[in-house]
């Protein structure tokens, strides 16, 4: 499992191609980006704060649990922090498995867990000011 937390952008395809995963017959990637609107507000940027030590530990726990449950062969998570402009990439989750069903399910499970368990907080920057994005709790997905 590879986990990277970084301020700089990434190239999703290049990151995935860089890994040679033996036995893989499927690769599924999710790329999350900064929306340019929220309700009726125009979003110029997102400030992403995180708790670095816990983020790394929690992503490791999430990845290991999902890898085991969905028999994934490899998991790659890259999550950015700092100020990101609208349309910029925030996160990449790529998983490899022998068959497609495991890869689709595993990728979705990691993205869902990121939303409720990984200690990131987002502040939306718009012309009207800055607003914290409402978050979720570890219980929200049951």
């Amino acid at each position: 499992m590879i986990i990277r937390l970084q301020a700089e952008d990434f190239d999703p395809e290049r990151e995935a191609q860089a890994l040679d995963v033996r036995g893989a017959g499927a690769r599924v990637s999710f790329v999350g980006t900064v929306r340019d609107t929220a309700e009726d507000r125009r979003i110029e940027a997102l400030d992403i704060e995180h708790y670095p030590e816990m983020t790394r530990a929690e992503l490791g726990r999430i990845g290991a649990a999902v890898q085991d449950r969905h028999r994934l062969l490899e998991v790659l998570v890259i999550h950015r922090y700092g100020r990101l402009l609208s349309h910029e990439r925030i996160v990449l989750v790529t998983v490899w498995s022998a068959h497609r069903a495991q890869a689709f399910a595993g990728c979705q499970a990691i993205v869902d867990a990121l939303k409720t368990r990984a200690p990131f907080w987002k502040k939306e920057i718009s012309p009207e000011g800055a607003v914290w994005v409402p978050g979720q709790t570890p219980q929200d997905l049951g």
């Binding site: 816990m54 200690p119 907080w121 994005v133």
Partner: protein, 79 residues
């Protein structure tokens, strides 16, 4: 010592990013630490308030001990 860390709105409202507290001689839970650092401002904090102890999700009723790192933060929004 117990290290306390605050993030996002909790950090902004309490004006506290990191603080160290001496452990008490009686059993303590995370909410005791919150009372100690927040005082009356606890009412202004976003609810639900999440807690982590040593980088693992915990709760306000979780026990804390000398050497622990206890973090308080609002619900998360990764991804």
């Amino acid at each position: 010592m117990i290290t306390i860390r605050c993030f996002a709105q909790v950090r902004e409202i309490l004006g506290c990013e990191t603080r160290e507290l001496a452990p008490s001689h009686t059993p303590q839970c995370a909410s005791d630490l919150l009372k100690a650092i927040a005082g009356e401002r606890a009412a202004d904090l976003p609810m639900p308030l999440l807690v982590a102890i040593n980088c693992e999700h915990a709760s306000l009723t979780s026990p804390v001990k000398d050497g622990d790192e206890v973090a308080f933060f609002p619900p998360v929004s990764g991804g």
